[in-house]
Amino acid sequence: MTLDQIIKELNLKVLTDAKDFSQISPTHGYVSDMLSCVMTGAKHQSIWVTLQAHNNIVAVACLLELAAVIITENAQPDAVTIKKANEEGITLLSCPRNSFYVTGKLWGMGLRDQ
């Protein structure tokens, strides 16, 4: 499953620069709003679903080399966060639905936690 399919299926808004999302294949998924838990639990190349929208999510995503971050319930990262994400090549996506819904959808599409 590619990031491209996920964006279409969940109708996600791409907040960072466009790239060839059909070339990105997330391997796993992870949900948490606690950054240290993400640091512990999220696997390399995962999709991370969170309510957090402040700029530390970029540092976490970058250090873990995550495939993308889905920010739920329309939480809006500021311009500095988006700029930093672009610099680090991190994809930030957003949607109005909550983390439960997004995770359910991703599971339905076949993404697993491990």
């Binding site: 606690m34 240290s36 402040h54 999510i57 540092a59 970058c62 873990l64 080399e65 311009a79």
Partner: protein, 326 residues
Amino acid sequence: MAGSITRVEELAYILKISEVMSSQVKTLNPHNTMQDVLECMRENRISGIPIVDQENQSLIGMVSTEDLIRCLANQDVQSNLQKYMSTRLVTVNSFDHLTEALKLFAKTGLGRLPVLDEKGALTGILTKGDVTYGLLRALQHDYQEEEVRIYRASHLFEDIESDRTSLILRYTIQHFDFTNGGAASSKIKRALLRMGANAQLARRVGIGTYEAEMNLIIHTTNGGSIHVEIEPHQIAVYAWDDGPGIADVQLAMQPGYSTATEEIRELGFGAGMGLTNISRCADEMDLRSELGKGTHLTMKFLLTGEDVVGEGYTSKTKKESSKNDA
């Protein structure tokens, strides 16, 4: 996407038009005919020709394929080109940044812009193709620069002789500076990758250091400092602060234990997993703290097997072993 600037946009502000334009321009003079225009376009496979004054090389007009089509429709190729050339000229200066040309392309819909020098003489021509090619060349250059950086850094220790050589990186971390949270650990991770460390090791050091960095931001009185000592056989990360100190280190080490305030927790910190994470990432961890004095954290990452930093000569074995993996 407010406020986001891509590398390409950034390059458009750095590159000068003179670096991107074609400087060998086919030109004609006002005495030429439209037949000359036709031949010049066909021979050189171009779609626009600047018309210049023979004496002072100043630009008088432009003839484009559209002008030629009008002329052909009139079956008028023998006429002087002045009858069809455009004299309302849109030009750019060679010393301007590429972004000026991009704005003009967007505004006018033109396919090419004549480029003038400081004296106003024609010095080149800029097409959208030139812009694309120029940007690609600049991006390629960026890429090569990173390759050179990696090459240089990965050989760092190779030619230096001492009883024990190490490289020390120092970072100052400010209390409550959430804006730069993770900046030091990201830089450390990048440095290690440039020095030839494998991705797994760089990630482990990055994650461990991130937790230490956030602890300095969240839990100290005056911030602190992070020192990373890189040696061919190990990487040591030291995080120091001068207070307030941890009352019960053993309790602090317990997963889920946190003293973070509600405000900090709302940002997603304070899960009580930071120290747990550090001990998971590092090969050795040492935490010493005294109330009122401060905390010293040491993390050691031992390089084993094919792990290498700063030594080019071992990269050969690395390549061989990755071949074996495949």
